[in-house]
Point group: C2
Chain length 245, copies 2
DNA sequence: AAAGATTTGTCCGTATGTATG
DNA sequence: ACATACATACGGACAAATCTT
C-alpha cells in the first residue's frame, strides 16, 4: 500500500502550515481524545512524509495558538479542542446561538460612517444607487477570543441611529428593537472561504496566514423588506457554521 | 494615511499566494468588470506593497488556473469570473441546484467499500457501533471542471446496492429511489474551511495549496431516520455555498 | 534504584524556495 | 538575467526530561 502523505510541496503554502492545519482538524475531530496527546513528532513526521523538524514547526504554531502544549520527555498535550458552532438559520441571532457554548459574548463597534449605496449594497438592500447607508464595522468575542468581524450596511433613512444604539447596547437585534423593529429574519446567506488579509489577521487576532470563512447575508423585516446587508468573517479554525434546516 | 498592504510575511503562506487569493476574490467580486483587465503589475505591486516580481508569480498562478491571461504590451485579461453557487437547503440536491448554472453536471464513483460504523459515523446515522456501512467516494464535475469530492456513508442493511446503483445512475437521489426511498431531506449541515490535502488537490484538480470548503451533512428519510452521512469538499475558489432559508 | 527506551529541545550544516532590487 | 537576503525543509547528532522495565 502506498503511503498517503496528504501534504504537497512548492505550492506557496509552507509544509509546516499545511501540517498544522491537518493536526488542528484532527484535534477538533477528537482523534486524540483517548490519550489527550498528539502522536510523537517522529510518528507524525512519518505519517506526513516529512522531516521531524517540519512537524516541530507545525506544533510550534499550534502551541503559539494555545491549542497544544509540548513537555520535554513526555509528549505534546492537547489543551483545547473546542470549535464554536455558529448556527445559521432563518432566525440567526449571534448571541442567542452561542449562549450555550460560551459564558460571555461581547460585541464592539470598531468604526461607522454614512455613505451612498454602491451597486453591490444597493441591490442587496433593494435601494437605489446613491441612497444613504450606514456602514458599521463590528467585532464579537466569545470568552475573550475574537470570533467574528463584520461589516454591515443599514438603510440610513429607516435606521438613522444604528451606530449610537449599537455602541450602547452591543447588539444588532437590540439596536433594531430600539428603533422600532421588533423582529427580522435571515433571507439569504452566501459562504466563501479564503486566506485572511492583514486587517482581518489583526482584528481577529489570528495566527497569521489563517483562513477566514466569510458569510454574505441579508436580513429583512417580517414584510420582507431588507434591513441589513452584512459581510462577516469568522476565523475558520475556530468555528464551524451550522445550518439548521 | 497609512498604506494597507493586506498581505503578511513569514507566516507559512507565500506572498504570491496571498496576493493570488486576493486578486481571485476581486475578480469574482467583479471589481475589474469595467475594463475586463487586471490592473498593471506595477500598480498591483504598489497596492499590496510588494515587488513586481511577486505580483508576477501571483498572476502566473492565476494564469495557470485559466482565470486570467497576460498579453505582452497590453495587460492581463480576466478570462473567467464565474463561481458556482451551491444551494444548501432542506431539499438539497446536487444536480438540481446547479442545473441553471451549468450545461453538464456529471458524478463519478471513485471507490466504495463495506465497513463497520465508527463512533463518528454511528452517532451521525443513529446506528450502533460496528453496524455495517457502505462508504462511497464520489466526485462531481460541472462542464468538465471538478467541483466537489464527497465521502458518504449509508446503512448497508437498508441500502445494500448503493454503489452498484450509483455507478449506473450517477446520482444519489436516483440510487435512493431505485432502492425504494422516494424522498429525503437535509437535516443538518456543518461547514468548515481548511487547506486542501494532497488527495483533495489531485481529485479536485486544484491549483495546489488551495482552500477547501467542507460540508458535513446528514440526510434523513421523511420519517426522520438518517439515511446518509457525508463529508463533501468543494474547491473554495470555485464555489460559494448559498443557504436558502 | 538503575538502565534503557521514548520523546522533546537544541545545534550544526546544506539545498531550495521566496522576495527584493 | 543577475545578485542578495531570508524562509523553508531536510538530515544528522546529541542533550534533557520523562517513562518503562
Amino acid at each position: 500500500m502506498v503511503l498517503k502523505k496528504n501534504v504537497e510541496r512548492q505550492i506557496g503554502v509552507a509544509l509546516w502550515r499545511q501540517i498544522a492545519d491537518r493536526i488542528r482538524l484532527s484535534i477538533s475531530n477528537g482523534d486524540y481524545d483517548q490519550t489527550g496527546m498528539v502522536p510523537p513528532e517522529i510518528k507524525l513526521a512519518g505519517q506526513f512524509g516529512v522531516n521531524r523538524h517540519t512537524v516541530r514547526s507545525a506544533l510550534a504554531a499550534l502551541a503559539e495558538e494555545g491549542l497544544v502544549e509540548a513537555i520535554q520527555g513526555r509528549g505534546t498535550m492537547v489543551r483545547r479542542k473546542e470549535r464554536l458552532s455558529f448556527p445559521i438559520s432563518r432566525r440567526t441571532r449571534l448571541s442567542q446561538g452561542l449562549s450555550n457554548q460560551v459564558r460571555d459574548i461581547r460585541s464592539r463597534l470598531l468604526a461607522h460612517e454614512e455613505l451612498p449605496a454602491t451597486a453591490e449594497s444597493a441591490t442587496a438592500l433593494g435601494l437605489n444607487l446613491g441612497e444613504k447607508l450606514i456602514r458599521m464595522d463590528t467585532t464579537s468575542s466569545a470568552d475573550g477570543r475574537p470570533v467574528s468581524y463584520s461589516t454591515s450596511y443599514f438603510p440610513a433613512a429607516r435606521f438613522p441611529d444604528m451606530a449610537r444604539h449599537f455602541e450602547e447596547l452591543g447588539s444588532i437585534t437590540k439596536s433594531f428593537a430600539a428603533q422600532g423593529l421588533a423582529d427580522y429574519v435571515r433571507v439569504s446567506t452566501e459562504i466563501v472561504a479564503r486566506h485572511a488579509d492583514a486587517n482581518e489577521l489583526a482584528t481577529l487576532k489570528l495566527s497569521a496566514g489563517a483562513i477566514v470563512l466569510e458569510t454574505i447575508a441579508v436580513n429583512a423585516d417580517p414584510d420582507g423588506v431588507p434591513v441589513q446587508y452584512s459581510r462577516s468573517r469568522f476565523a475558520a479554525d475556530r468555528v464551524t457554521l451550522k445550518m439548521e434546516t
